[in-house]
Subunit: 498 residues, 2 copies
């Protein structure tokens, strides 16, 4: 790894002298030249930053694939080496029963707030590989974007902060805040071992707030701070009919085809109004306030444009709610996968023994993942016809979360986004889930600031995932400003401004 | 290939002398010793017969798999060489635009009926391979059965007749009838090129009746003659939602999930009474006569035993009909395969762009495969929600067929089965399809005799396919008797007896 031209190291030493003369490390805001220096360094190193990100992307750290376990471990080591290289003080790779967790800190700003940064270096699988325009692990610039698995979710967004930190440490020898970082390798498979790690390292992870960049902005050119996430209950539904695959001619008409039975169950999970039919499913849903519905309705949004962009003639969802309300503030149920019988080329006249589906439910406050999973299992028992056997397995879950809009972290984020992107950000929620946000609140008592630099059409879990180059570089500037702004709003966890 | 011990060749010469002295080839019935000789030869060669069948089974002639094209061709050549070896006069491998067709004949019985034997040497795919107890192409005896792909459907049943023919020709130097044979390689994929072949070789294929062994007996120990087959219309249904795979969190609740839409369509294809809901589906169904319903109700059958044997707690099907009626005389609709989204290990939160299913309908007289396919396509257009695109592709079809119970061929088959198995056979229909039966009727004007030696639980299209060893050897004896009996009922296509 290389870090910047020779000149910047010289500037760094100079800046260190200034700081020492001053007797304290002050916010660079009080030294406009220092801030310029940090931001100029970012500008001067754009091309190297991208080269390094490509190197990180090239490691196929697909956490769900047992065969990629070595790659996932290699990715953790790469991250650790990189964090050492940019100047983090402590860097340690923690082994877990699953994939490793990288911890790093820089604690050289006594009296200043401590940020706990969280990100993940694992990525989603890349199938179907043939639908990628360029190889999924070979980051490629096309137009205004960088395409590859992990560019948006989450390697690219994690890297935004790495480069902001580097710019500070290489130029000023310090950060305006104290920083702890955990970068995990199991986000895409439910963060199973992270929770144990957090519980076991409460003291190590003590901080004032959590910072995460793993969400999309509201739209291209619309910087956004995200204050809410949906939770998830992820299930697998296995339907077994006859005890073996049968000839569909010789047996068709005598037994319940498990594909048909599964289809009947899935079809019955929504009513005519697009509502989920599981009894009790909506019981704990916190209703949308009039104020929030008004705020959401003011966001720049067009159903027509959205439908056109997704290539569908009509949208679909729960009646009585707008699209944004359905995406952010209403629970949903989706089939993520289905399989059974003959799925190859040609024709095979089989009446299969089994059919299965992966089904996940997105949750909103105050639903609970475990409770919803139980309701699902109870419902399956109720609706499964006697002619088949149906088993619902709870694969993983995460709780929904909402962070107060008037918290110091959110305020600092708003100020930083305005400086980084040159325009006022909007407040938004996200339909996806980051279960760890809930755990940080529950275990460490910390609110999370969601500073997302992705885009809604970034194909996070699909072929041709990308990050906007503009967002990547403006994201780095925003990160620089966030670290700079935060002490103005918060001192050791207490509010200063606003 | 080896054919019999030296002694039998000697006997053959002797028998030929007798025949020549007699001035004509008479039915062996008139020479009880000749018949004994043929049957004794079968008994004496049981072990070699099985070894040869294993050799045939070992060729993985999976017609639907483009990568197995070479194996399919090799299998055709093996069949041709074998038919030459057992003494067929003319043997020729016809190339087609698909897989080859093997033709053979023995026309040395002028004035006697001509049988057109049809069989197929191609087999179904073997996936899921891990569910096979022994390797699918390594024929293995366990208990009373021989297990491997193709043992029942149809290599094993074809081989039954090869060995009966061999026993005649090696011992007596002649058959009691004239025999033409076509063994094709595309039965499992719709016999596309066989129909063209039959149309182009009407003169070559001229005969008095068609003989096929590709059906199961009613039950183990219950020899059966089959007088009816269902037809088939095989469709693929593709449902497309958004133009790319989406993150199910970020997008769930806004668009119609194509898995869900597909499930809704499949679920809607049957009503609460298990009837197919496609408008017009039952219009051309020939109602069951009271006489046939009575006959069916007398067959040894237990729903309870059937359900237990298949491992289901309850049977399923069209209300108002018995299981046998539903299987044999009522049309049905089955999902043969379904796929979409993430189907691997673990969890992927995708809202897929596409989901597909293979759906086939079994038809009875007087439904037409093409018409039903059109009704299906029209129905899909009608029920597909606006929020997705649905395309129904007609993959292949075959018409249903029923052969009169009092035809000479069926009568000869009944007599032969009684001698071969030592008990009176039952009359049955079959739920499966042999489209070529309809084409033989339409193109050549021939009725088909269905002399099946399989079993209902033979796993024809599933792992652990088998043929009963008892049925294999009694089948050979039945074939010997069928060739012997036929001239008594039919002379050049005209009835003699009964």
């Amino acid at each position: 790894m290389k870090f910047g031209p020779r000149g910047s190291r010289h500037a760094l030493q100079l800046q260190a002298v200034v700081a020492i003369l001053d007797g304290n490390f002050l916010s660079p805001l009080t030294y406009p030249n220092a801030m310029d220096q940090v931001l100029n360094y970012v500008e001067a190193n754009r091309s190297r930053y991208l080269d390094e990100l490509k190197e990180l992307i090239a490691i196929p750290s697909v956490s769900t694939d047992p065969q990629k376990k070595g790659d996932v471990a290699r990715c953790a080591d790469w991250i650790a080496a990189h964090l050492r290289g940019i100047g983090m003080q402590t860097v340690q790779v923690f082994a877990t029963a699953g994939h490793p967790i990288v911890y790093a800190d820089w604690m050289g700003a006594p009296g200043k707030p401590t940020v706990l940064f969280y990100g993940h270096y694992d990525v989603q699988p890349v199938d179907p590989v043939n639908l990628w325009t360029s190889p999924p692990f070979d980051a490629t610039i096309r137009g205004e974007n960088l395409y590859a698995r992990g560019t948006a979710d989450d390697k690219g967004q994690v890297f935004v902060h790495f480069k902001s930190i580097e710019a500070y440490l290489k130029n000023l020898g310090r950060l305006p805040i104290n920083l702890k970082m955990i970068i995990e390798g199991e986000e895409e498979i439910g963060s199973e071992h992270l929770e144990i790690f957090v519980r076991e390292h409460k003291e190590l992870l003590k901080a004032d707030l959590v910072l995460i960049s793993d969400t999309p902005m509201f739209a291209r050119g619309v910087p956004s701070v995200c204050y809410g996430l949906r939770g998830i209950s992820y299930m697998q539904l296995d339907v077994t009919g006859p005890n073996r695959d049968l000839h569909s001619g010789s047996f068709g008409g005598s037994v319940h085809n498990p594909i048909q039975a599964l289809a009947e169950m899935i079809a019955g999970m929504h009513d005519k109004n697009g509502r989920v039919t599981i009894p009790g499913f909506y019981d704990d849903v916190r209703p949308l306030s009039k104020k929030e519905r008004r705020a959401l309705s003011k966001l720049p949004w067009s159903d027509k444009k959205y439908a056109r962009e997704l290539g569908v003639r009509a949208l679909y969802g729960e009646k009585g709610f707008t699209t944004l309300e359905r995406l952010w503030a209403r629970p949903t149920l989706e089939s993520n996968g289905i399989w059974g019988g003959f799925t190859g080329e040609g024709a095979k006249t089989v009446l299969p023994s089994k059919a299965s589906a992966k089904i996940s439910m997105r949750l909103v406050p105050d639903q609970s993942a475990g409770k919803i999973a139980k309701l699902f299992q109870k419902y399956i028992k109720k609706i499964a016809p006697k002619s088949v056997q149906a088993d619902a397995i709870y694969i993983h879950g995460g709780e929904p979360a909402v962070t107060p809009i008037d918290s110091p972290g959110v305020k600092a984020a708003v100020a930083a986004l305005e400086k980084g992107f040159g325009k006022k950000p909007v407040y938004q929620r996200e339909g996806g889930s980051i279960p760890i946000v809930v755990q940080f609140k529950q275990i460490l008592g910390l609110d999370t600031v969601l500073l997302g630099f992705g885009l809604p059409d970034e194909n996070a879990h699909a072929p041709d995932e990308f990050i906007s180059l503009e967002n990547f570089f403006k994201g780095i500037r925003t990160s620089v400003h966030f670290f700079d702004e935060l002490p103005l709003y918060m001192k050791n966890g207490h509010r200063r401004r606003g």
